[in-house]
Symmetry: C2
Subunit: 329 residues, 2 copies
C-alpha cells in the first residue's frame, strides 16, 4: 500500500518533532521540508529527504499528500494556512482560540475551492482538550468543565518576563492550583477564573548589578500576565536556567464535573490528563494522526475545513475498522 | 424544533437512568417505556408517558426516533437488538467485548435492511474507554495502553461470592492497584495482567453459624474470579451491607504511556479517568449522547451499525458546529 506522503512547512521545534513523529507511523513517509531560510543551511534528521524553499511549494502538488503546517499562530499560519490549503490537504495546530472561527472560514473557502481537506486547531489545546470538553459536556449537560494547564512552560509569559528591565533571560511555568483541582473533584462546581485555577513560577537570570527587588515587583504587578495570579519569582544563574529549565515539558487536565439522578444526587467526574515530556513532540504526534484523517477523508471525496469535532476517531487509527472493533472497542 | 423522541426498551437500573437522563437533554423527549412485564405494574418517573408491552413495539415506528436498548448483554441484547434494529434507530451498551464483532455484524444487517442506524457498545467500557484507547494509540504508536477498572462493584464477582456455601449476601469491589498505576505513570511500560492491575475486596454477610474461615478460603481460591488476585474478605451484617454498600459507584482509568523523540527520550502520558457516583446513570448519559448522533446521522441518510469509533464528536453535542468552534475548540 502506498504511504501517505507528508510535507513539513516550517522547521522550528514543531517541524522537527513532526519529522521524528513520522517514523512511528508505518503508513507515512516524509516527502520534504519547506523553509523560508536558505535550504542549503538546513540539516534535517532524515537522510535522503530534500529541503525546499517555500517558493517551491507549488511545484510539489503531485508529490505531497498532506502538508503539516508548523509555523506560529500569530503571524505565520494566518498567511501560510490559506495559501497552502489552496493547493494541498493540510493539518495545523492553530491555537489562537478567539480567532478560530475566522481562521476556519478562511481555510474552508480555500480548501473547498481546491477540493482539499484542511484540519485546523488540532494539537492538544485546541485539539485533544477541545474534544474532551465537547464530549464531556454532551454526556453530562448539568455540569461544568474546567481546563487546567501545566505544569509547563508558557512561551508568552516567559517572553513577558524577559522584557522586564534588568532581566537577561527567564522561563515561566504555569502550574495548576491543587486546591482548585480538589474542589472540582469534590463536585463543588466552583466558579474559577484562570487566575484562581493556576499559579505562576518564574526563573529569572538577572543582568549584573540589576535591582532584584524591583524586577520582582515589576513582574508581580504586570497587568494581565501576572498581577491577578499567585506568582513566585526565583533568581538563578544562566547555567541553572539551561540545566534545570532547558526542556519543554507541559501538560494539563480537562475536568468535567456533573450531576445525575432524580434529585441530582450523584456526582460524576470525567478527567482527561496529559503529562508531556516534550510539548512539541506531543503536538506533532496529534497533528500526524489528523494528517492521516485528512488524507483518508479527502480520498473519500470530503473537502473543506474541519476541526477535531468533525473527525470520526476511526480515521485517526492505522488499524482497520474490523481490527478496531476486535481489539480496542 | 421537533424534539428527538426516545423510547426505552427494558426498565431496570439502566432504563430508569435513561429516563432521568432525558430531562437533562433539552432536545429530547421520552415517548414510551417498553417492558416484558405487565405494563400496568410499572410505575415510571415521568408523568403522562405511557408504558407499553414489548409486543407493541412494532406499532410505534412512527412515534419513536431512537430506541435505547437497556437489556442485559448476556441474553437480552443478542435477541432484542437485531429485532428492534430492524424497525428503529437504536443505541445500546452491549458489553461482551469478545462478541462485539458478531453483534456488530448482526445489527449491521438488520439496520441496513431497515434504513436505520444502530450504534452499539456505547457505554463507558466499551464506549468512552474504547474511544480513548483508540485515540491514544493513534497519537502515540510507540506506547502501551492500560485499562484499570474501579473502584466499583462488579456484578459478576458479587454473584460468584453469593454462590459460596454459607454466604447469605455479598458485594465485591474491583479496585485498581496503586503500584501498577504508579509504574505506568513513570513510563516504565510494565507488562501487567488483569490480576496485577487490580485487587478485589469482598463484603460478605454470612449465614448464621457458617464457617467463616472456610468461606474466606473458598472465595480466595476460586479459579478465574479470585485465585490470581490479591483478595480481601470482610464479614459484615445485613444492615451494614445495605447502608455502606448499597450504591452503584464505579469508575476507572485508561492510561496510555508512550515515548517520543530522536531516541525515545521523552515520556508522554495520557490518562482518561472517570469517577462515578452512579454507574447506570453515567452509562445512560453516554447512550443518550449517542442516541442524538444516531438520530442525526440517520436524518443525513446514514444507515447500518456503528461504534463510538465511527461517530464524529460533533454529532454528540446539542450545540451547533459554529457554537462548538466558538466556545469549545
Amino acid at each position: 500500500m502506498a504511504k501517505i506522503r507528508i510535507g513539513i512547512i516550517g522547521y522550528g521545534n514543531l517541524g522537527k518533532s513532526v519529522e521524528l513523529g513520522i517514523r512511528q507511523n508505518k503508513d507515512m513517509e516524509l516527502s520534504g521540508v519547506f523553509t523560508r531560510r536558505d535550504p542549503s543551511t538546513l540539516k534535517i534528521e532524515t537522510e535522503g529527504v530534500p529541503v525546499y524553499h517555500m517558493d517551491q511549494v507549488k511545484e510539489m502538488t503531485e508529490k505531497v499528500d498532506v502538508m503539516v503546517l508548523c509555523g506560529g499562530s500569530a503571524s505565520d499560519l494566518p498567511v501560510q494556512g490559506p495559501e497552502i490549503a489552496s493547493m494541498f490537504n493540510t493539518v495545523d495546530g492553530y491555537d489562537n482560540h478567539a480567532k478560530i472561527p475566522d481562521f476556519f472560514k478562511k481555510m474552508d473557502e480555500k480548501a473547498r475551492a481546491a477540493g482539499k481537506v484542511a484540519i485546523i486547531a488540532s494539537g492538544w489545546d485546541p485539539g485533544m482538550f477541545s474534544l474532551n470538553r465537547l464530549i464531556a459536556e454532551a454526556i453530562l449537560p448539568e455540569g461544568k468543565t474546567y481546563t487546567f494547564w501545566g505544569k509547563g512552560i508558557s512561551q508568552g509569559h516567559s517572553d513577558a518576563v524577559r522584557r522586564v528591565k534588568g532581566v537577561k533571560d527567564a522561563k515561566q511555568y504555569t502550574i495548576p492550583s491543587e486546591e482548585a483541582i480538589e474542589a472540582v473533584k469534590k463536585g463543588e462546581m466552583p466558579e474559577l477564573t484562570a487566575a484562581e485555577r493556576h499559579r505562576r513560577v518564574c526563573y529569572v537570570v538577572p543582568e549584573e548589578g540589576a535591582d532584584l527587588k524591583q524586577i520582582e515587583k515589576d513582574i508581580k504587578t504586570m497587568p494581565n500576565y501576572f498581577a491577578d495570579y499567585d506568582t513566585e519569582v526565583h533568581f538563578i544563574n544562566e547555567e541553572e536556567l539551561e540545566r534545570d529549565h532547558g526542556g519543554m515539558p507541559h501538560g494539563g487536565v480537562v475536568m468535567h464535573s456533573g450531576k445525575t439522578g432524580l434529585n441530582n444526587e450523584h456526582n460524576q467526574t470525567i478527567e482527561y490528563k496529559i503529562t508531556l515530556g516534550s510539548n512539541p513532540d506531543f503536538t506533532a504526534h496529534v497533528l500526524l494522526a489528523y494528517a492521516r484523517a485528512a488524507y483518508r477523508l479527502n480520498k473519500e471525496g470530503v473537502v473543506g475545513a474541519k476541526t477535531v469535532a468533525d473527525i470520526a476517531p476511526v480515521y485517526l487509527s492505522i488499524r482497520t475498522p474490523e481490527e478496531i472493533r476486535k481489539n480496542l472497542i
